[in-house]
Amino acid sequence: MNVIVLLKQVPDTESIIEIADDGASIKTEDVKWVVNPYDELAVEEALQVVEKNGEGQVTVLSAGIKQAETAIRSALAMGAHEGILIEDERLERADTTATGQVLAAALKKIPHDLIIAGQRAVDGDNYLVPAIVAESLDLPILPVIIKESIADGKITCEQVIQGGTMVVEADLPAVITTQRGLNEPRYASMPKIMKAKKKKIASLSLDEIGITDDSLFSNPKIRVESLQVPQKSRAGIIVEGGTPAEKADNLLRHLREDAQVI
């Protein structure tokens, strides 16, 4: 079983983000870079799939610049077997279409039974790349899942829908994307970190995967026009309610509707 994890390096969600002078990108000097949290869930799930299956390997694939190697190495330290970086300066600012197509082009050369991606990268919040990859490879996609199981060449997944869950199934190979609750990502242990340090991360150029059309980058379909920092309002609210149960209901409503965190 060859499981591929699509992984992106993103600014730590605790980093304080400042907008660069061009108004459309962020200052990166003091940003701390981490593995996109949804991709950590993907790495964990991939490891569990291989462990359950008894054989196979987990390959981590990322498209970006050299520094993304540290993110790949974090995945190797969790236990992934191999890491591949498609490396090109132009990928730093690539739009979702370009990124999706680049990953798909590489995947055409890498054997895969299952592709697991984070539901979205917490920096751009586009939710698009996994779908573009699936489309380009003509694979089914089961997005935002909280559970999966594999049997007889099929993958069965649970998705959360308004007020309940839905069970969906597809033939492998397929693309799935992760939701919080799918698993608790494991910690990297020190011996595994030592081992991961010594592993070689394969590097692929765009040429090598057959991407020669520069217009993908020079003439992107989507351009970031400007970025704004949200108005800081850190004032708290006191949740009203006559009984504890009512308070809890109101709190849930605030979290869901106002804060939109659950």
């Binding site: 304080i16 003091d30 701390k32 990502p185 910690y187 011996p191 030592m194």
Partner: protein, 550 residues
């Protein structure tokens, strides 16, 4: 329950990835190269990234990496001129003579976080294994119960009740021929090691100051744009002259400044809140004029071990050494610990390389480190300040007579050594009923921020569902004894609102509520709590402040 633990071995393990350890590890790799030895060297750092603004005497850096400039050392500014001011409530008087220990002209202004990151990269290139996100939780001893054999790292994946979650990962035993404790001021393992082996039985108690710092972004046109002075120190308001402490302000790059306030933890008044003092300092007209129009971009807090020479413990024992601020190596009159900390790490490395070569890592063999330190420039620097902390802790004229005599006699003063009390012993009993903490300062959320916004700006984070890393030995004592006697000073001395007093809605019972996830790892509570009822241990790896520039 016994847990299966992995173990891993190193020749030398540095606990804590601060500047002292990093300089030590680099020096050790240099020595290994000179001696053609193969050494496995590791550093564990509890923070998730190796890493406040400081003025650094470059002497140790010049010795360690003479070509630091071409290696792109991140230097913010060079000190152009010092300003030393005495503040009254409304006015500032420039002290015409800056004490000789505080001449900083030509020294480097650095961001300690950036500088440490840079040293970390150099160390890694030389082959040092750095493990960010791993905390030392326990010192491991050999069968004799006194030879240090390494440290055990903290467990990951425990829930708030201490039960293992599905991703539980037991801490591992890191075994090392020599373990180097470079945990900074009041290191939790250093504390237990010093206690267990009696390493400071011949010493005066260590004393501390709590510093709260900020980085402020100023408008393009600001005080420093045309000022020969870019390094300001103050004494006086708001703390007054009885308690040690004072303010500082340095220029950084890109119209940013570092500003901070230190409060000596030997204070007596349980009502003191170091954070409020810092806010009052910022509101002083002289200071406010410099920072107006600015915005706080980062905040942090940390204690400094300021006791000096007579408080430094024995530095070597079987299988282990103590370096830097963890050992109280600090030049108190100059307010500087970086260069002496780095040098202590470097000299420890020299002694370790020789001990490993001779295959003798006993305390007697590692003791050579202390001799090297005593023969280096560190000793006269620290020795001159040997009676400074006790004199500073005095009140009224006495203080100035002692300080004056010390200034003229290169530190000896009138009594040598002067006695010193531990910080937890100095609080006086509240003579009024305890007041609930008042938070009535006006904060604008931008230049003046409250404690919780400060916590946010420190980028501190801890996984919520984990056991508390602040251990209250006897919670009842907090309510029954401490509250009526001192009015729960923890609710004030903590700069991050970790401690709150709550009254149960139904029973009307008071209780202490902890918010460990706010913690900035400054360790003030562990030091100042009058009953020594609070024990600070490392939280799960990677937790803690995420300073990038302070």
């Amino acid at each position: 329950m016994t847990t299966e633990r992995d173990s891993i071995e190193f020749d030398a393990l540095f606990v804590g990835g601060g500047v002292s350890s990093l300089a030590g590890a680099i020096r050790l790799m240099q020595m290994a190269k000179e001696k053609a030895m193969e050494l496995e060297v590791g550093i564990i750092e509890k923070g998730s990234e190796i890493g406040s603004h400081s003025i650094m005497n470059p002497i140790a850096l010049q010795e360690l990496l003479p070509d630091y400039d071409s290696l792109n050392c991140p230097i913010e500014q060079t000190v152009r001129g010092d300003g030393f001011y005495y503040l009254t409530r409304k006015k500032a008087w420039r002290v015409p003579m800056v004490p000789r220990q505080m001449h900083n002209q030509g020294f480097l202004i650095i961001s300690l976080a950036r500088f440490a990151r840079w040293l970390g990269e150099i160390a890694e290139e030389m082959g040092v294994n750095i493990f960010p996100g791993f905390s030392g939780q326990e010192v491991l001893y050999g069968e004799d119960g006194k030879t240090v054999t390494g440290v055990r790292t903290g467990d990951n994946g425990l829930d708030a009740n201490g039960k293992a979650k599905s991703n539980f990962e037991a801490g591992i035993d890191i075994l090392a021929k020599v373990t180097v404790f470079g945990e900074g001021a009041r290191g939790n393992l250093s504390k237990s090691l010093i206690e267990k082996l009696g390493l400071s039985s011949q010493c005066l108690p260590q004393v501390y100051e709590t510093g709260i710092k900020e980085v402020i972004q100023l408008p393009e046109e600001n005080f420093f744009s045309h000022n020969p002075v870019n390094d300001i120190h103050t004494m006086g308001y708001p703390l007054g002259l009885n308690v040690p402490g004072g303010g500082f302000l340095y220029q950084m790059k890109d119209n940013r400044i570092a500003i901070g306030y230190l409060t000596g933890l030997c204070y007596e008044d349980p009502g003191i809140d170091p954070y409020d003092l810092f806010m009052s300092f910022k509101r002083h007209p002289f200071i406010f004029d410099i920072i107006k129009g600015g915005r706080v971009v980062e905040q942090g807090a940390r204690t400094v071990s300021s006791g000096g020479h007579y408080t430094i413990p024995r530095l070597a024992t079987d299988g282990a050494v103590l370096i830097g601020a963890a050992a109280g190596i600090h030049n108190t009159p100059a307010l500087k610990g970086i260069h002496v900390g780095m040098k202590s790490g470097m000299l420890a490395a020299e002694a370790i390389a020789e001990a490993l070569e001779k295959k003798d890592v006993s305390g007697a063999s590692l003791e050579r480190y202390r001799r090297l330190l005593d023969d280096s420039w560190v000793h006269p620097e620290i020795y001159e300040g040997r009676n400074f902390a006790p004199a500073l802790a005095m009140k009224g004229m006495k203080k100035w007579i002692h300080l004056g005599a010390q200034y003229l006699s290169k530190g000896r003063g009138i009594i040598d050594p002067l006695p010193l009390d531990a910080d937890y012993e100095t609080l006086r009993v509240l003579n009024t009923a305890p007041t609930e903490t008042t938070d009535n300062m006006d904060y604008d959320g931008s230049l003046m921020v409250d404690k919780l916004t400060g916590v946010y700006l420190s980028k501190t984070q801890h996984r919520e569902d984990q056991p508390s890393h602040l251990i209250i030995k006897d919670p009842q004592l907090c309510i029954d004894t401490c509250y009526p006697t001192y009015g729960s000073p923890c609710t004030r001395f903590c700069p991050a609102k970790v401690y709150e007093l709550e009254t149960d809605e139904i029973t009307g019972q008071r209780q202490l509520k902890l918010n460990p996830s706010n913690c900035l790892h400054c360790k003030t509570c562990d030091i100042k709590d009058p009953y020594q009822n609070i024990n600070w241990v490392c939280p799960e790896g990677s937790g803690g402040p995420g300073y990038t520039t302070v």
